[in-house]
Amino acid sequence: MKLEKGCISGWEFLFSVFCFMQGTMLRSGFIISVTRNDSWAMAFTGLLLALPIVGIYAALLYSFPGKSLIEIDDIIFGPVLGKAVSILYLFFFLSLCALNTRDLGDFVVGYMMPETPIAAINLLFLLVCVYAIYKNMKTLLRLSIVFCILAVGAIVFNFILILKDVQVDFLKPFFRLPPMKYVQGTVSVTAVPMGEVLAFIMLAPMLKKSQKAGKPLLFGLTSSAVFMAVVILRDIITLGPLVSVVSLASFESVRYVSLAGVLTRMESLYAVVLIILFLFKVSILLYAFVLGLSELLNLKSYLPLTLLSASLVFFYSLFVFESVMENMNWGASTAPFFSLTFEFLLPAVSLLVACLRKVNSVSEVKS
């Protein structure tokens, strides 16, 4: 089964980007531990830094309409080097997939089922992702609007409920940390959630007008940055200095909701929404990997690869980190550099080479 072309609209693409980004909410803890009470601003500076990256993606998609990342690589770098670059991208998708699965497993094990082995959770989770891919990806992308309403609803609902316990003073003093911290925070935000929209280049041919993928990408990113700022803001004004001490700030602040002894224990709501968003995100990453792999191997259908890849992700997710501490250390120190290599460096080089060699899809057709 090949990728179906032109089956989703720009709006669906936009909501998909939004849901994809919201799935990374859990990782906001890494930013908060760096920039403390100014973390909310990192959502916006991170977005600014992500603009050129999205620009590169949009330019690539514009010059090669209807082509996926793997095909673009082949066109730009030629059949051999192109394959090598594609393998690098695929490795990145696979890693992201495993890292996100691990994040979800750590979350469920850490907060809800401490005695359950993480393997059981990851396995069930990945099986659902595989199911989603089997049942056609475009359905999931179309459902993104529903997930989007769920996510936004949960954020707004929790925000309103916690309002009676917040203290806005916790935001002060503004921007008193050493400037390097802000650079670190900004790069983190750009690299870890925002740059991951790279996976959407694989999906862009599904758009009715794949040349115009830039706009939904940009608006999806902007709206998710706004909600990211809102969530971080809520955590800071609820937890104050505790925000950089607790391991999962947004979970703790949702947990604090207690209204008239009735509306309490809202964290299950949060957890459900989070798991749905994670599901969405990992499905897209897995799909990007599987699709890329099938294109690389010139297979007619990607379906037989799905279960195989999922099992690869499963084992990868099990041994990628030994503990939550290792995960946190990775997120705070190495992850941005790892991600930016694939998210920024490779596409930028691709675009540069494309410009220098003056290739585009039209000339490809002629030759």
């Binding site: 809800m112 082995p117 059981a120 703790e252």
Partner: protein
């Protein structure tokens, strides 16, 4: 496309008796679906971490005392007995039910979690903390170290941050034994009592989150309400009175009721309060319904920082025990002035007590850190001394909106 995939699978499963399967294909398919559904349903109960209700001991309150051996602490967990909750105060035949609706389980060990494990040696059910409502430290333990107990309760994935923290004057285990009439379980009574304190503003309401936030700050002194068991009518009852003040993780002193009210006025936590003022004709009681506080550090021309505290109270005349008509405007002005004085004296009394403990219960340090971070860097090293010296301007404004249901007091011959 789908057919190709099926074909691939068929090739793969060649060793299976395919013709046989084909014959009963529909039947096999149904059986497989049924089997899968059953397996999935079995998974719904989350097999690994299942907790049946009848294997849980639901803890509603926890007390921490100093243990009888050196360097140990004693944990008292108040566990609800669900069966007794339902049966009512007295059984249908009229005789009072002797069974209490709770059990206090105690364990003594070197740390909180070890004590919890210790209790599991004596109980068939597992202590379940997510419904814990109060955490009571005995003042003896609080004076030694509070951090250890707190960390265990904050870190545990089951624990919640909105647990009320209290300090008991005597033993915490005795507080959890108090005899309350309106509730069946002392912990529920205590946590309800705390929530009810909004009506008098004489007891601070402190959750684990508030306490931890104050503790994390370098300058603010955490506070917690104090509870005491006293006997009245042959029954031991808990009573909330005063505030425990902490510094560097230890309890260093107390504020009494009036000082606590001063603290609440100054930090803007006061909701409604009752102020009794003495006029030359007798007592008048003012009820404050709304309270607005702004605590702001201001920088003087010479660079020194003063704290400006503006308290705005809004209330009504609640009772008038004199024969004088208090609705007359000049009397109203007098009452406002007296009310202001009462509030100011509360605040100043709290401040002098805080200064004598050199514990910044008001959060002046935090306010300065937020508004003047550069100056704060200079003064944070010797904040204790600065706090003792720092200037405080208190401006109190009292507004009296009404005289209640009466304009003049009901006095003998007052109609003439």
């Amino acid at each position: 496309m789908k057919k190709q995939a099926i074909g691939a699978y068929r090739k793969f499963f060649k060793f299976l008796p395919i013709p046989f399967l084909r014959k009963y294909r529909e039947w096999v398919r149904r059986a497989a679906v049924l089997f899968l559904c059953t397996v999935l349903i079995l998974n719904f109960c989350a097999c690994w971490n299942r907790r049946e209700l009848n294997t849980l001991a639901i803890v509603l309150g926890t007390g921490l005392d100093v243990g009888n051996q050196p360097d140990t602490l004693e944990l008292t967990a108040q566990v609800v007995r669900a069966g007794e909750m339902k049966s009512g105060g007295s059984s249908p035949d009229g005789s009072a039910s002797a069974e209490k609706a709770f059990v206090n389980m105690q364990g003594t060990d070197k740390s909180v979690l070890a004590a919890v494990r210790g209790i599991s040696h004596m109980a068939n059910r597992r202590l379940y903390f997510p419904h814990n409502q109060v955490l009571i430290f005995s003042s003896e333990l609080a004076k030694q170290d509070i951090a250890e107990g707190l960390d265990a309760f904050l870190r545990d994935y089951e624990a919640r941050m909105n647990v009320h923290i209290l300090v008991s004057k005597g033993k915490a285990s005795e507080v959890l034994e108090e005899e309350c009439e309106l509730e069946k379980i002392p912990s529920v009574h205590i946590s309800g009592m705390i929530e009810n304190q909004e009506s008098n503003s004489e007891t601070v309401i402190v959750t684990m989150r508030d306490f931890a936030i104050a503790m994390l700050s370098g300058s603010t002194a955490p506070v917690a309400p104090m509870i005491e068991v006293h006997e009245s009518g042959g029954k031991k009852r808990g009573k909330l009175e005063g505030t425990a003040v902490f510094k560097d993780g230890k309890m260093v002193g107390e504020l009494d009721g009036m000082q606590t009210r001063g603290l609440m006025f100054a930090t803007g936590k006061a909701k409604s309060s009752v102020i009794t003022v003495d006029t030359k004709w007798g007592q008048v009681v003012l009820e404050m319904v709304h309270s607005r506080t702004s605590l702001e550090p201001v920088k003087a021309e010479d660079g020194s920082i003063r704290i400006e505290l503006k308290i705005n109270e809004n209330g009504a005349i609640e009772s008038n025990e004199t024969t004088e008509d208090m609705s007359r405007l000049e009397n109203l002005e007098l009452l406002k002035k007296l009310g202001q004085e009462a509030i100011r004296s509360d605040v100043e009394s709290a401040l002098s007590q805080a200064r004598s403990l050199s514990a910044d219960v008001f959060g002046f340090g935090e306010a300065i850190r937020r508004e003047y971070p550069e100056e704060w860097e200079k003064m944070k090293e010797n904040w204790d001394e600065v706090f003792r010296e720092i200037g405080l301007d208190v401006q109190v404004e009292v507004e009296l909106r009404s005289t209640g249901g009466l304009t003049r007091p009901v006095t003998p011959g007052g109609a003439e």
